[in-house]
């Protein structure tokens, strides 16, 4: 992140505050950040460094849940697109059966989780995938028939892999975790989940 873009972000934030009385939103955000630091304690794998926001988190937090402007979105997406590393062997698809397990697994990265224990993507918390699973969430869109509707080609595979790796590369300030960029899932796990979406044999595409 260079100084120019930081200034640009500051400008955007200030512009949104407008001529409101009292402290600016940015000042309040700074107070909130400082308060958070004194209000949490490190526990197991969850250290206080988790409260240090990167540029994407900071910009997205200032949006109050609204969509970013076109300019901000483009910048955030560019920033995040640059982080995506394609699989070393060039193959985007792993084992969809493993992918299904990862999609069901809700544990991982919580201070209450065993650091050596499973880390999942918990896809079903937010998305419909395989139709056999009735208990799915709706924070994200339904991914049922993901490839059946979009095609099974390598470009779609690359997109699916990249979207799991870093969704902010395609939709700035997405609600979805950046599973690859933030080291939540391994490359193999991302390939497995990609296969759950893309493999013609996956229940998702039935």
């Amino acid at each position: 992140m260079n100084a120019t873009t930081k200034l640009a972000v500051t400008f955007v934030v200030m512009a949104m505050v407008g001529c409101a009385m009292g402290p600016s939103k940015e000042e309040t955000a700074a107070k909130a950040s400082a308060m958070l630091k004194t209000s949490f304690k490190a526990n197991g794998q969850a250290g206080l460094d988790r409260l240090d926001q990167d540029e994407t988190q900071r910009v997205c937090s200032a949006l109050d849940g609204n969509a970013p402007s076109k300019e901000v979105a483009e910048r955030i997406e560019k920033l995040n697109l640059a982080t995506i590393k394609d699989p070393a062997d060039g193959k985007f698809l792993g084992d969809w059966k493993n992918g299904e397990k990862i999609a069901q697994e809700g544990r991982g990265k919580q201070f209450s989780d065993d650091p050596a224990g499973p880390v999942g993507a918990n896809c079903y918390a937010c998305h419909q995938l395989a139709p056999q699973e009735l208990s799915y969430g709706t924070i994200g869109p339904s991914l049922y028939q993901f490839a059946k509707l979009r095609g099974y080609g390598v470009d779609t595979q690359r997109y699916a892999y990249g979207k799991i790796y870093n969704p902010d590369a395609y939709a700035a300030c997405s609600n979805m975790p950046r599973f690859g960029h933030n080291g939540i899932l391994t490359e193999q796990q991302i390939k497995d989940v990609t296969a759950l979406l893309m493999d013609p044999a996956s229940p998702v595409n039935k």
Binding site: G106, R107, Q110, N122, A125, L134, S135
Partner: protein, 166 residues
Amino acid sequence: MDAERMDRGRRAVLKQGGGATLLALVAAAGWLRPEVAGAQAQAQAWNKAAFDTHNMAETMQALGGGEPAQSKDIVFFQTPDIAENGAVVPIGITSNIPKTESIAILVEKNPNMLAAVFDIPAGTEPSVTTRIKMGQSSNIYALVKADGKYYVAAKDVKVTLGGCGG
């Protein structure tokens, strides 16, 4: 619809219980006598054998008795088709059979089938509400003893788990 559901429940019972059928369940209602007074006497009367059974056949053997008749006069109320959490499943059972003496709750797929037995003395309405644990989706049986005879009805209850992270 109820009849069909019960019929399916009955088939499941028969399949598990084999030739012994529901004989034993029947006695479930018989173990408790209203005149048993005093908590200590009751504690001693607790039917360990019946509560320790792990499938229908064992439960039957532990209890002994005659085969109960399917009854449409046993009604589940406040009992959901789907329980959000198996730790607490509300169960309400009313018997419209005259001279009901006791009501028992059994959960087919629980490790121990028998959950509870309620003796209904004369003057008490043959209707109880409580909450039970269910390890998984299962049939629930309401077993009623009335005028020395035994009756049963079944209801299928699905258990969902959910939430994030865990």
